[in-house]
């Protein structure tokens, strides 16, 4: 596997988009959190907001930073799409096989890259959360650090979806369109329809079962819920059980991997 990864590194290290998107991602994760932190700080100086507690000191900072950083995951997602559709565009997926990789080796190393990218992204989120937490004062705590673990699951899940879409549609522009449209619009639409149908029959929203939370992207998104006004929201809206969410996330992830591998192993390249 190290051999395969070294070859992938040869492909990546001189790819401008890899370097550029990588840097943009690092800057964005820091930027989003820093802006929110600064804004929060300015608001907190009003007496009313003091009561809300700090979202950017330990242990809440793990949760807040993980949630805010989630919005930047489309960047490594785009990178995965570009790297995989490049192979199809340049027909280098064929050449790699011709030169002596098995089909399985080709797809396996891409799947491993999704995990590596996710680990790197999670590490950065950890560093940013740690820095902001220390900066905002208060005692250090690793309570709620599991939210960075959930961020890792979110990352693996969304990047693996990007990989599957790339393998299925092969063309960069189309893959990006399908990916962005599904993640940011279509799934929310489906969720809204599911909730809407339920709402017709139930008048009290606190009695609704959040089925929409087990949709592919929602399942991982719901692992790290909206961090602000958490107590109020918990009372107003029912939450899906965390184990159901984890289970659903795992099932989707397996499906993405299974479909991607199956596609690449059996069809004409």
């Amino acid at each position: 596997m190290i051999k395969l990864l070294k070859i992938e590194w040869l492909k990546m290290k001189n790819y401008t988009a890899f370097v550029a998107i990588g840097l943009i991602f690092l800057v964005c994760v820091f930027g989003v959190n820093f802006i929110a932190y600064t804004f929060n700080k300015s608001v907190q100086e009003t007496p009313a907001a003091m009561l809300m507690g700090s979202y950017f000191s330990f242990p809440n900072v793990w949760h807040t930073v993980s949630w805010l950083s989630n919005f930047t995951l489309f960047l490594p997602g785009l990178l995965i799409i570009l790297m995989i559709t490049n192979e199809f565009t340049y027909k280098t997926h064929r050449q790699n096989i011709i030169d002596g990789w098995s089909r399985n080796q080709f797809i396996k190393v891409k799947i491993v890259i999704v995990f590596i990218f996710s680990a790197a992204a999670t590490l950065w989120v950890f560093i940013v959360a740690l820095a902001i937490g220390l900066f905002s004062g208060g005692a250090f705590s690793v309570d709620k650090i599991y939210y960075t673990g959930y961020f890792f699951i979110q990352s693996v899940s969304i990047l693996m979806l990007a990989l599957m879409i790339s393998v299925l549609v092969k063309r960069a522009a189309l893959a990006i369109a399908v990916f962005i449209a599904y993640v940011y619009i279509l799934e929310n639409l489906i969720g809204a329809i599911i909730n809407g149908l339920q709402y017709k029959n139930i008048s009290d929203p606190s009695k609704m079962i959040p089925y929409a939370d087990v949709l592919p992207i929602n399942a991982t998104d719901s692992l790290v819920p909206f961090p602000f006004f958490r107590e109020l929201l918990n009372k107003a809206m029912p939450q899906m059980n965390i184990y159901i969410l984890l289970g659903a996330s795992l099932v989707y992830l397996m499906a993405y991997i299974f479909i991607s591998r199956k596609q690449f192993l059996i069809r004409d390249l």
Partner: protein, 295 residues
């Protein structure tokens, strides 16, 4: 030992049958041409051998064994188009190919020199001309000095000097003991370079064997005289020709290549009292042979 053997390979694309049960063997140490017009299934067949296409049915063997990626690493293959990372230089691309083949990078300067790309080795692949891309693909095949080369239309897009160089390279590798499998739609190329040939037509194998036997040419002698009927009865006694036909008020005699003797034909007729007004030796055109085989 057979380097490659195909056993009843079928490939369907929906209703289109690209290959209809192709079987043949490529012996070691040959230059094996796969000849056929455009769309005859040459590239499809090579794609199946390289595991980038899946056959509908049938099997094949590499080096007498069930094929795996390890066998492919011992074969330098150039299939259809030069496939490289556009944003990388020639050298960076070759590093990737060498690493996949499990070869060191020591060969890279040598193969770049062989195809005259040393000066441009640091240029991005996307800035290369078609001919240069083609030469880079051939350089990539030569990495690690493989015993077997598979080349799909290797001279496509090259200038005459480039074509001559590639053909000389193939000859050299053959003399060094390599086996070369080469697909081409150019009969002339196959005739010049190959020792063996398989001819494909619409996905079917029409002939396979030694080039000299399959593409055997004939010399044609055209003769004419004022009295054609007398000439005709006279030439029937001539020795050595394989067949005769009449066309455009001329008689055509077919001889095996290199056995024609115009002088003796002329003398024979003169002795019989016929003065020839037309005597010409014609080589049968390769193109007409190609049409004959594939139509």
């Amino acid at each position: 030992m057979s380097i490659l053997s195909l056993e009843n390979i079928h490939k369907d694309y929906g209703r289109v049958q690209a290959l209809k049960g192709v079987s043949f063997n490529v012996p070691k140490g040959t230059v094996f041409g796969i000849l056929g017009p455009n769309g005859s299934g040459k590239t499809t067949m090579l794609g199946i051998i390289m595991d980038i296409l899946k056959p509908t049915s049938g099997t094949y063997k590499l080096f007498g064994e069930a094929p795996t990626e390890k066998h492919r690493r011992q074969i330098g293959t150039f299939l259809e188009t030069p496939n490289f990372y556009h944003y990388l230089s020639a050298e960076q691309n070759l590093k990737i190919s060498a690493a996949i083949k499990g070869r060191g990078e020591a060969d890279i300067p040598k193969v770049l020199e062989m195809v005259n790309l040393t000066q441009r080795k640091d240029s991005r692949f996307s800035t290369y001309s078609l001919g240069m891309k083609q030469r880079l693909a051939i350089a990539s095949c030569l990495l690690g000095n493989p015993e077997v080369l598979i080349l799909d239309e290797p001279t496509n897009g090259l200038d005459p000097v480039g074509i001559a160089e590639i053909r000389a390279l193939i000859k050299k590798l053959y003399l060094e003991g390599s086996t070369i499998i080469m697909a081409s739609h150019l009969l002339d190329e196959v005739e010049k370079v190959c020792t063996h040939v398989a001819i494909l037509k619409k996905g079917e194998l029409v002939a396979t064997g030694n080039v000299n036997e399959i593409l055997a040419n004939e010399d044609i002698v055209e003769i004419g005289a004022a009295d054609m009927s007398k000439l005709k009865s006279s030439v029937q006694h001539l020795p050595g020709y394989s067949s005769m036909s009449e066309q455009d008020n001329l008689i055509r005699l077919f001889y095996p290549v290199g056995t024609t003797n115009l002088e003796s034909i002329n003398r024979h007729c003169f002795n019989e009292g016929i003065v020839l007004n037309h005597l010409q030796l014609k080589k049968k055109s390769l193109e007409s042979k190609f049409f004959e085989l594939t139509n």
